[in-house]
Structure formats: structure tokens, C-alpha cells
């Protein structure tokens, strides 16, 4: 049976190859920093389960040291000229689109297939496993038809990842920080603070505090999942549900979505907000957040009104 372990091995080998190619790229003055960074990530993917908790912690400290002292850079050149790309696009265009769509199509098909035919792959991880299989199929099909130099996909992939840089592991780092926050009981403290700040006797005031609290705490934690249990314990359960008799399904469902509005407005949600800015090579790292605020704020207001109308 295919498990997530297979995907980790695939990711580990990919990062190892990036590290190797990075070390050989003499045009990048910081090539050894890059090689060490992707090499450590390869080690984490391949051997993380054997390093022990403290060993993994030391690995993270090393990653932070490399990135924090500015040892990661990217090669200044190596882009394929636009006219060469245009010429190739004229020749291969429809085929390229077909290959690009293999990955989402495989993720889609595999998700259903592995649920109908249990035993082939871990059904809980069906989409991630299918995505990885889709990558392998797309690569094989693309290589067979385009016949590029053998290492071209890895070289180009490495260049893309170098342009993302240390931001590539920011989401994983923030998720880990959330675990330390949970261990230290940060959520309970914030919940108590917000609980004491609510005006007494006003239903709308309580709904407002719940909705805004969900959004704000999500912005701090970068994740509505972390905010939800805290805000429910501080405001949702004692006031909205117990005292005012609100429908718990509405309070929870729309409260969570109020939190999602916060996710749109915070750099802490790095995988949604900062990573795409790096991936699209935007000049402003907060460009995606800027583009989202105009939707997030009115939608937050709508969610608060929805709770007020639908729950009571």
C-alpha cells in the first residue's frame, strides 16, 4: 500500500537533487548555503522519523541559522530567453497545457480511485499521494515527448525553489510554532483576556466580539484552527450559545469562516499569503495580502451579521 512515506521519500530525493545541483552552480555566490539548506530539508524528509525529537529540533535550528544569517541566495542568470520560450511555445503549446493539467487531473482521479479501491493507497492521504503520482506521470510524459537534457527539470525546479528561498519552509515553521504555543497555553490566556473585554448584556456586542476575536486571533496565529477552540471557550460557548441560546452549528460554522477572513490578512498564514508572492516574484512581499483586504473586511462584516441573524 502506498502511504505518505512514499511521498516523503520522493520529496527527500527531490530536495537532495536540488542541493547537489545547487552546490555545483558556480554562478550563485551563496551556492553552499543553498545546498546546505535544501540538503537538510532532504534529510528531514528522508530520515526525520529516525532523528528523534531533539535531533529534528537541532535540524530546525541549523535551517534557521543558515537562513537567518543570509546564507541563501539565487543565481543572477539562467533564465531561458523570452524569444526561445515563445518559439518553443508555438511548437509545443497544446502539449504543454496537456502535461500541466495531468497533475490536477491525477489528483482528482486518484482521490476517487483510492477511495473506491481500498488497499492501494492510504485513503486518508489519497489526494497528496495522487498529487505525487501525478507529478511522476507528468514528468515521464513531458520528458518522453520534449526530450530535454536529463537534468533540465531538476535544474529549472531548483531555480524556482531558489527564488522562493527560505520562505519555502515558513508554513511548516509556523505550524510548529503553533504546537509550542499550544504547549505553553497561549490560547487560554488570550481567551481569558477577550472574555473579560466584552460589554455585558449586549447580544450584538457579544457576536461582534466573537467574530472580530476569531479574525484577530487567527491573524496572530496564522490559522483559524488554533483560534477556534479558544474563542469558542472564551465567548462562543458561555455567551452566544449558553446565555443567549444561539444555534451551536451556526456559531461554529460561520465563526470559523470569520476566522478565515483573518487568514486572508496576515503574513502569519505564510503558505497562502507570502509564498505565492515569492513564487510570482512580486516586488512587495505583502502584495497578496494587500489584494485580499478589500474582500476580507466586507466579508468579515457579512459573517458577523450572518451569525447575528441566523443563530438567534
Amino acid at each position: 500500500m502506498i502511504t505518505l512515506g512514499f511521498v516523503y521519500v520522493l520529496a527527500g530525493l527531490t530536495f537532495a537533487l536540488f542541493a547537489l545541483l545547487g552546490a555545483m552552480d558556480r554562478s550563485n555566490p551563496k551556492r553552499f548555503g543553498n545546498a546546505a539548506f535544501w540538503g537538510l530539508l532532504a534529510l528531514s524528509m528522508l530520515g526525520g522519523d529516525y532523528l528523534g525529537d531533539f535531533g529534528n529540533g537541532l535540524l530546525v535550528l541549523a535551517l534557521v541559522a543558515i537562513a537567518g544569517t543570509g546564507q541563501i541566495g539565487r543565481a543572477p542568470s539562467g533564465d531561458i530567453p523570452a524569444d526561445v520560450q515563445a518559439e518553443r511555445a508555438a511548437k509545443h503549446g497544446p502539449f504543454l497545457l496537456f502535461v500541466a493539467l495531468i497533475i490536477p487531473a491525477a489528483a482528482l482521479a486518484g482521490t476517487f480511485l483510492f477511495k473506491w479501491l481500498p488497499g492501494l493507497a492510504d485513503p486518508k492521504q489519497a489526494t497528496l499521494i495522487s498529487l505525487a503520482l501525478g507529478v511522476l506521470i507528468a514528468l515521464a510524459v513531458g520528458m518522453a515527448r520534449l526530450k530535454p537534457p536529463l537534468l533540465l527539470p531538476a535544474q529549472q525546479g531548483r531555480r524556482l525553489l531558489d527564488s522562493v528561498g527560505w520562505a519555502a519552509i515558513l508554513p511548516q515553521m509556523l505550524a510548529s510554532l503553533g504546537a509550542v504555543f499550544a504547549l505553553a497555553g497561549v490560547g487560554e490566556v488570550v481567551g481569558d483576556l477577550i472574555g473579560t473585554a466584552i460589554p455585558q448584556g449586549s447580544l450584538f456586542g457579544a457576536v461582534l466580539a466573537f467574530g472580530l476575536g476569531m479574525a484577530l486571533f487567527t491573524m496572530v496565529m496564522g490559522n483559524a484552527f488554533a483560534a477556534f477552540p479558544v474563542m469558542l471557550a472564551a465567548v462562543g460557548m458561555p455567551l452566544l450559545i449558553k446565555q443567549y441560546g444561539g444555534d451551536p452549528a451556526v456559531v461554529a460554522a460561520i465563526g470559523m469562516l470569520a476566522g478565515f477572513c483573518g487568514t486572508l490578512m496576515t503574513p502569519m498564514a505564510a503558505n497562502f499569503n507570502l509564498v505565492p508572492a515569492a513564487l510570482l516574484e512580486l516586488k512587495n512581499p505583502y502584495g497578496v495580502i494587500k489584494a485580499q483586504i478589500g474582500t476580507a473586511l466586507p466579508l468579515l462584516a457579512v459573517n458577523i451579521v450572518f451569525i447575528w441573524i441566523f443563530a438567534f
Partner: protein, 224 residues
């Protein structure tokens, strides 16, 4: 109260634009120390969480495929394709993507599209080409805004579609937490109550995309 120091470090660190990885590590250490943990325990807790969340970083395995296709001109082809569709404006294109992303997420297909898989290779270049067809003299600022709005549309479609799906993590979390308080609620109820917000998100963002359309077309070449 002292454990809140980690939150202050995060906010200050992001505002002062220190390297975020350093800021996160400093915040974790300060929070752990404030809670009475020793350094070795904090490092181990962080390491365990890092290892448990590796699946977050496996998305980068798509890059060799994207790199290969881009080297052969995928972005150019995406632009050409949009150039051929007469009615495809920037706003209509992104609104269509928004609807598609919401619909897919609503049936649980969240990883099918995304910033690495679809936005960078397809959606952003198509959006840029659609705007260029109307306004050939786009400024760099306008191009930047179009790309940012392509990523934003992906996020909004994902966030306000996925909660309609029964088996998504957030629904299971809500069910679990409410059960802890003695409320047994079927996942379907949470799903249904996600629909009004999904519609509102589509209307609000769709409206903004229409206005983006006009803004990119109207001030021919002038910075927005």
C-alpha cells in the same frame, strides 16, 4: 500572561522585517521559557512538530514539472490561448477561476489547484494576457496587482468553498470541540451553514474583480 511574549515577538519581528524564520524561533524559545520549559524541551517540542508537519512542504515536488513546462513556453502558451478568446477579460477570467476553485473545494478537491500547480504556470499569465489585450501599455504596478489578485482569487476560492465539504479538517475540528461541550452535531449542519458565506464571498470578490477590470482598462498605461 507572560507566555504572550511570543505573540509580541512575532508582531514586532514582522513589523521590523527581521528574517521570519529567526523571529519564529525566538518566539518559540521565549514562549517556552515563559511557560517554564527548559531549552532542550522546547527544541525537542519544536522538532517533533516540524517532523509531524512535513506534509506542508511536499508541494514543492511539483516544481521540476513546472520548471520543465515553463522552459518550453507554458506561460507564453497560456497567454496565447487567452489572446484567442475574444470575450475573455481579466475580470471574467478570474471570476471563472474563483467559481471553479470554490466548486472544487466544496467537493473536497482542495489540492487539485494551488499557487504552485495552477496560479503561477496558468492563471497569472492568462490574467496578465487578458488585461494586456484591453490595455497593451500595462505598467509594472498594474502587472504586479494582476498577479497578486490571481493569487488572492485562488485563496478566496479555496477558503470559502472548502467548508462546504463534509470531511474537511475544520468541520471535524468543530464537531470535535462542540462534542467536548456535550453537543452532538452532524457535519452536514456545519456544511450547510458555510453556504451563505460562500455565496457572499463570490459576490463580494466578483464585484471587486469587475472593478479591477475597469481600472486596468480605463487608465490606459497610467499607474493605478
Amino acid at each position: 500572561m507572560l507566555v504572550l511574549i511570543g505573540i509580541l515577538i512575532i508582531i514586532a519581528g514582522f513589523v521590523l522585517r527581521f528574517n521570519p524564520l529567526l523571529v519564529i524561533m525566538a518566539s518559540a524559545l521565549a514562549t517556552g521559557l515563559a511557560a517554564g520549559l527548559d531549552i532542550a524541551a522546547i527544541v525537542a517540542a519544536f522538532g517533533k512538530a516540524f517532523n509531524d508537519t512535513r506534509y506542508v512542504s511536499i508541494i514543492w515536488i511539483v516544481l521540476p514539472v513546472i520548471g520543465l513546462l515553463e522552459a518550453y513556453g507554458l506561460q507564453q502558451h497560456a497567454r496565447t490561448l487567452i489572446g484567442r478568446m475574444k470575450g475573455a477579460t481579466l475580470g471574467r477570467l478570474l471570476t471563472g477561476y474563483l467559481l471553479l476553485r470554490q466548486a472544487m473545494a466544496a467537493v473536497g478537491l482542495t489540492s487539485v489547484a494551488g499557487h504552485a500547480q495552477t496560479v503561477r504556470p496558468l492563471v497569472a499569465p492568462m490574467a496578465e494576457a487578458a488585461a494586456e489585450a484591453v490595455n497593451p501599455a500595462l505598467t509594472d504596478e498594474q502587472r504586479e496587482e494582476i498577479k497578486a489578485q490571481s493569487a488572492a482569487t485562488d485563496n478566496i476560492g479555496l477558503f470559502f468553498g472548502e467548508d462546504i465539504f463534509l470531511a474537511i479538517g475544520s468541520i471535524l475540528l468543530m464537531k470535535g470541540v462542540l462534542e467536548g461541550y456535550g453537543y452532538q452535531i452532524e457535519p452536514l449542519h456545519f456544511s450547510l451553514w458555510a453556504i451563505p458565506t460562500a455565496i457572499a464571498a463570490f459576490l463580494i470578490h466578483g464585484l471587486r474583480l469587475r472593478r479591477l477590470d475597469r481600472r486596468m482598462a480605463a487608465n490606459k498605461g497610467a499607474a493605478a
